[in-house]
Structures are given as C-alpha cells and as structure tokens.
Symmetry: C2
Subunit: 194 residues, 2 copies
Amino acid sequence: MASQIVNEVVTANNAYAANFGSKSELALPPARGFAILTCMDARLDPAKYAGLSEGDAHVIRNAGGRASDDAIRSLVISHKLLGTKEWFVIHHTNCGMELFCDEIMSDLLDDSLATASFDGENWSNPQHGGGCAAGHFIKWHTIENQEESVAQDVARIRSHPLVPKNIPIYGYIYDVKTGKINEVSEATKLGKAA
Amino acid sequence: MASQIVNEVVTANNAYAANFGSKSELALPPARGFAILTCMDARLDPAKYAGLSEGDAHVIRNAGGRASDDAIRSLVISHKLLGTKEWFVIHHTNCGMELFCDEIMSDLLDDSLATASFDGENWSNPQHGGGCAAGHFIKWHTIENQEESVAQDVARIRSHPLVPKNIPIYGYIYDVKTGKINEVSEATKLGKAA
C-alpha cells in the first residue's frame, strides 16, 4: 500500500499533467540561458522567487547551495552542453547548515542514524545505538556566515579550470523572512572575470 | 550595469516578495517530511509536478538527478537533522545526460570550454582552443537507460551506511511530454528495507 505522501504526490502530479498543454513542446536547453545554484531548503522555491517558468533555466540544489564538486559538474554540463551563459549562487538566511559543524554531525551519526533534536543551542540523539562512523569521512559543507559562504562558493566556481572566464557568476542571499534576494556584491565581483 | 537576466530575476523577485504574506513564518524543517532528488533540467519544476508549497519538502537537484556523494550528503542531513522520512528519486525522459558519455565530455572540454553543438547524433566544438584536461578526471554520471539509472541510484542510497533502513526510497521517471511521473517499481522495491 502506498504511503500517504506517495498518494498526495501522485494526486498532485495527475492534476499537473491534466493541464500540461504546450509544455510538452519545450526544448531541452534552457530557453533563458542561465542556471541557479541554491539550497535544498523547503522554504525556497527558486521558480517562484526568481520568476522561472518551465523550460527557462537550470536549477541545481543541495544542502546549503554549496559549490561542491557535484554542483560544479552540473554547472559545467549546463554551459558546455546546454549553453547557459550566466550563473547565480543563492544561499539564504536561517540555513540549517549554520546550526552544526562537521564534528557535531559525525559524532551524532556515530551514535545513531535516527533524526536528532535541536533545543536551539545543541543537537542530541533522542535514541542511541545503530550509528555509523562513516560520517567522519564526509565533508558536510557547513556554513558559519552566509556572506562568506556565498563569496567562497562564487570564488571556487570562478577559479575552476573548466569554467570559462566569460561567464558572470552572481552571489545572492535569499531572506526567508521577506522572500527577497539580496546581492552579495563582493561575491558577484569575484564572479566576474578580472 | 546589470545584465538583462539579472534585471528580470530581480524584478520577478520583487513581485514575489511583495506578496510574501505568511510565508515569513515557515519553519526550517520540511512540514511534510519528505525529500525529492531530481534533475536540474529546465523543463522540470518539482514544486509544480509534485504539488509542493513553500515549506513542504527538501528538493535536491543536479545534472541527471543522480545519487552522487553530494546528493547523499544532502539526503543524510535532510533526515538526520531535519527529519524527512521518505525520499523520491525522479529522473526524466529526454535527459541531456543520455546524449554523451564520459569520453565525449572530457574530449570536448580538452579542446575548448565554449558551448558545444549537437546535431542530433554527435557533439562538436564550434571553436577550438582554450580547453582543459581537467574533465578527464571527473565522473560525469551520464545515463544510458532511465529505468536503470533510477534503480542504480535508489540502490546506492539504500545501501549507504548512513541511510537508515526505515526510510522508503521511491523511484520515478518524469515524462517531459506529458508531465506525469511514472513509478519504476523495481527501483522502489530496491528502496524498501528487505
């Protein structure tokens, strides 16, 4: 028997498909020629906050919106094969990635894989046992300061050997209290060719 | 001077923020407790095709919707710290990742970083020079068959040591011609605990 979530997702999808219309004709390359790298956070809807229709732009998302190797793999494919010419890195206020560091995460996982709880200051495991040491071998890409993380990520992408110098990379922070994206001008500067 | 794309994105964002309303009160953990891993493809809007409102679910996206190390990092954070309890892996028909292999991509980049062109069968570089050998050291996570890639990705996540066995992982393929998500039942079977 399907879970309630599966039923809800399939029902919503049926409604979407019933009014699909001319979207069946959309081309594979992004019509507006740009890509956004942003966080997986549930409160962020990049299509809504950046005004994207289906077919417009690539959207890459991970925990933090970080310029991981995998995000760079995706961006290079986006430009080299599918022609995007401008990229945005958009982190956000009140990000979960600010609430822990590598040591906290790996220690929590070492003890238990079950969901931890947060009291506003510290994380703890409500149950113990069944953990795994593998977390100690992962870089979690946590964030101390959003302006710094946006600047770091833009700089990392800018300096990657597979990224052409003529692609501008813009740095922004999405404010979860207002819905506004605010430019990190120092990051955007780093994102433009010298 | 800002580019046309930046102006369009900022204008759309201003309109979104102007009607932000009660979204400023949304909590950080996903309200509906699930996560979707899907492709960065511009034609896919997971919020629309799966019926997500802001605050509902984590959305992780990369080239292909692949279960890369970085996608698994994001999923583990999603469950361990933010409580998601069910995950979807959703690839799609007519994916760009089916149109090349690692050797084609790395050879193209070796020759030039500029956007390549595709004649329906082969990729070629419209201009030569300025390439970089770094692409030969990247696994691009291309796809030969969508049902296989969904099954591989679900199986990889299922067998990861940091993924608890009680999280069901569902495999689907989004059809870009109809907007429907169709279950890959073999993949979903792999995604459930034995």
